[in-house]
């Protein structure tokens, strides 16, 4: 998001997610992510799922 110089508001509008849902994703509180959501985010940010997902032990 920072590389694309995109704000959370802009991303939420383009992806079609509410700000609260985006915030849940950003803070890592989400239990699961739909493929459609992942696809939409990757499309808007022009990246791969691996660029936005990280495994933390």
């Amino acid at each position: 998001m920072a590389k694309r110089k995109m704000s959370l508001n802009e991303l939420s509008e383009k992806v079609g997610l509410t700000l609260s849902n985006l915030s849940i994703l950003k803070t890592g509180k989400a239990k699961a992510v739909r493929f459609s959501t992942l696809e939409a985010i990757c499309e808007v940010l022009d990246c791969q799922p691996g660029d936005i997902l990280e495994f933390v032990e």
Binding site: L17, L22, L25, K31, A32, R34
Partner: protein, 173 residues
């Protein structure tokens, strides 16, 4: 729409049941008090024709025991009816699985089990009295409450699982 009407009717019915059981508990208490301290003939019609005069004549201790069990079970039933009323007040069909509802249903199952246990004790107490030749025809309803407790407990488990699934669903983006 239809469900809402049914819910409202059931809410009213449970209020009537709750008030009825409260009145019964009060009447039994007053009857016990009257029999013990004012007029022993009060035992003849304890509540709605319930005749405990034979037991009273045989032993005041037994009479107090039976009347106490009757009062305790009726009061517990009234409290259980109040649990159901509370459930109706908190239940939201649009958001049925929540922590409060699940814990209330679990409490109800424990309470119903408690009533069943007390009713079993009362039944064996009444059996002991009947073995001494006194006729005591009271339906304590122990089996029904134990059965009821089991069913409610299973519903409570389903609700707990429902809460987990709903939380997971809400956190799926």
């Amino acid at each position: 729409m239809k469900t809402n009407i049914i819910m409202k009717v059931m809410n009213v019915i449970f209020w009537i049941v709750f008030i009825g059981l409260c009145i019964k508990t009060g009447a039994l208490l007053v009857s016990l008090f009257v029999t013990l301290f004012i007029n022993s003939n009060g035992a003849e019609d304890t509540y709605m024709g319930l005749d405990l005069l034979d037991i009273y004549s045989f032993s005041v201790e037994y009479y107090i025991g039976v009347a106490s069990f009757l009062i305790a079970i009726t009061a517990m039933k009234a409290n259980l009816a109040y649990f159901v009323i509370k459930l109706f007040m908190k239940f939201d069909l649009n958001y049925p699985f929540n922590e409060k509802t699940a814990s209330l249903i679990t409490q109800m199952s424990h309470y119903a089990l408690g009533i069943g246990v007390v009713a079993i004790i009362a039944e064996s107490y009444a059996d002991r009295i009947m073995r001494q030749g006194i006729d005591l025809q009271i339906d304590w309803g122990a089996e029904q409450f134990l059965f009821f407790a089991g069913i409610i407990y299973i519903i409570a488990l389903v609700f707990k699982k429902g809460v987990e699934i709903q939380n997971e669903n809400e956190l799926t983006i």
